[in-house]
Each structure stands twice: as structure tokens, then as C-alpha cells.
């Protein structure tokens, strides 16, 4: 088991495998969005229908979880879930999943954390925001602060632990099957299905869902 490889340095800044794989994933998501929304018409064709279903279901999810007054978060959440879904299933086409690197997941979780604090401050005002740390009793202030700081830690570690655990089990499986001839073609299929497709899509959904819950809880 090894971490992401370092391919080289640009001005002392390491270009890791995670970074390169993330560029590939950005390209995949960009091409996907471009192809799905090309030639939009009043009467939708196949590709446009897929895009409309994605946007519609995300709007429904945001409306149900965060409330109808916070629909503005839907584009951000759809972008996040598209990136996470492609990144978490990237073990299928042989890339090391970028979310199996703690740097990426902490970055994503910090985005949610600052969104939580920023939108909480914006919607409650500075007095209400400071007062929310004294709820329900003033002496619970340290517990509330620790609770706020634990959110990004648990968000990032959940995604990282799930993805890295899957990666380790898959690499152990492949190294165990290395000497055999036909079995490496068949045996990994159910494991890929579980660790890449099921766990990957579930974790990306849960990350986005928890982000929505945290932001909407901070706002009301």
C-alpha cells in the first residue's frame, strides 16, 4: 500500500497522482456537461433529457432537504455530486481515486465548513450567530465550538476512510490474484461493484446530503 505518486515538481510544487487524476476527472465532467447540454431545444432530445432529469432531481432534493427558500444552493450541490460521483467511481477505469487522498477530502469539507459559517453569519446576523453558540445553555460554549469544528473532520474522514478502505481491499485482492491466469478477470467484478459503484455513489450522495443539512441547519 502506497500513497499517491509524485510525478514531478513545478516551482517546488509537487504534481501528485491525485492532482493529475483530478485534472482527468475535471475533463470528464466538463465533456459530460458539454455533451449533455449541447444543442438545447424546446422539445428535448435524449442527451438533454438526461441533463434535465439530473437538474430536476437535484432541485427536488434541495427543496426537500433545505427548504424552498434555499434553492440557490442546487447548482453548487449538483456540481459537487457530479465531481464526487466521477471521482469515487474512478477505480473502475484504473485511476487512483482522488478522494482516497486526505488533502482532497479536507479541502471539500473545508468548503462546506466555511459555507456553513458564512451563510449562518449572513442569515442570522452577527448577534444571532454568536448567540447560537450559547444555545441551549451558556456554559456549553466549548462543547458547541468543538461540535462545529468536528463537522469538517468527520465529513472528510468519512469520505477518505471509505474510499481508502476500498482501495486497500482492492489492491490486496489484486496482489493476491496476481499469479493466477483467468481468475483475476472474474473474481474482482463483484468487489468492484460494491467498493467502486455502490460505496462510491453512496458516499458522494451522503457527502452532499450532509453538506446540505449542515448549511440549512446553520441558516435557520
Amino acid at each position: 500500500m502506497e500513497g499517491p505518486k509524485i510525478y514531478g515538481y513545478i516551482y517546488g510544487f509537487p504534481i501528485t497522482q491525485t492532482l493529475v487524476n483530478m485534472w482527468i476527472i475535471f475533463a470528464i465532467v466538463f465533456v459530460l456537461c458539454y455533451v449533455l447540454t449541447k444543442n438545447m431545444e424546446k422539445i428535448p432530445r435524449k442527451t438533454q433529457v438526461i441533463a434535465e432529469v439530473m437538474i430536476d432531481s437535484m432541485d427536488n432534493l434541495v427543496g426537500q432537504t433545505m427548504g424552498k427558500d434555499k434553492m440557490g444552493f442546487a447548482p453548487y450541490m449538483l456540481a459537487l455530486i457530479m465531481f464526487l460521483a466521477v471521482a469515487n467511481t474512478s477505480g473502475l477505469y484504473g485511476l487512483r481515486s482522488p478522494t482516497a487522498d486526505l488533502n482532497v477530502t479536507v479541502g471539500l469539507a473545508l468548503m462546506t465548513f466555511f459555507m456553513t459559517q458564512g451563510f449562518g453569519l449572513k442569515s442570522k446576523g452577527i448577534g444571532g450567530y454568536l448567540k447560537s453558540f450559547l444555545q441551549p445553555m451558556p456554559f456549553l460554549l466549548p462543547i458547541n465550538i468543538i461540535g462545529e469544528l468536528a463537522n469538517p473532520v468527520s465529513l472528510s474522514f468519512r469520505l477518505f476512510g471509505n474510499m481508502l478502505g476500498g482501495l486497500i481491499i482492492m489492491s490486496l485482492l489484486y496482489s493476491g490474484l496476481a499469479g493466477l491466469i483467468y481468475l483475476p478477470l472474474v473474481i474482482p467484478i463483484p468487489f468492484h461493484f460494491y467498493f467502486d459503484i455502490f460505496a462510491g455513489l453512496l458516499q458522494s450522495f451522503i457527502f452532499v446530503m450532509l453538506s446540505m443539512v449542515f448549511v440549512s441547519m446553520a441558516m435557520d
Binding site: 426537500q64 468527520s154 474522514f157 468519512r158 476512510g161 471509505n162 446530503m209
Partner: protein, 82 residues
């Protein structure tokens, strides 16, 4: 046995012990799934809402197990004692 070998052996045992944390999320997620099945049985038309809430609760219950996994991985692959 040298000091480093002793530390490595103890780290491997510690990683195994850390994964005992997997019991908690197992119980918690099973409880959540059981209650979810009960709720779907009682109110089948609210299935999508129930499944979504159940997944959210299961994910939060999973957190402590993931912390145990992270501790085990640190002990195995990024040991701070060596």
C-alpha cells in the same frame, strides 16, 4: 528483538485492536436499517423519504468506525513511532 521490531509488532496488534471500533457502527447501522424497514412496512408510500433519512443516520453512525479505521491505517502505513 530490537526496539524497532517491538514497536512494529505492537503497532500491528494496536491496529487490530483499533478495528474493534467496527462493532459500534455495525450495531448502529443494523438498528437504523431495522427501524427503516419497520417504518417502510408501516408507511410504504413514504419509502423514499425514509430511505434517505436512514442513509443519513447510517452515515453519521459510521463515523466512529471510520475513526477506528483511520487509527489502524496510521499505525500500519504512517507509523508515528518509527
Amino acid at each position: 528483538m530490537t526496539g524497532i521490531e517491538f514497536i512494529k509488532a505492537c503497532s500491528a496488534i494496536g491496529a487490530g485492536l483499533a478495528m474493534i471500533a467496527g462493532i459500534g457502527p455495525g450495531i448502529g447501522q443494523g438498528f437504523a436499517a431495522g427501524k427503516g424497514a419497520e417504518a417502510v412496512g408501516r408507511q410504504p408510500e413514504a419509502q423514499s423519504d425514509i430511505v434517505r433519512t436512514m442513509l443519513l443516520g447510517a452515515a453519521v453512525a459510521e463515523t466512529t468506525g471510520i475513526y477506528g479505521l483511520i487509527v489502524a491505517l496510521i499505525l500500519l502505513f504512517a507509523n508515528p513511532f518509527i
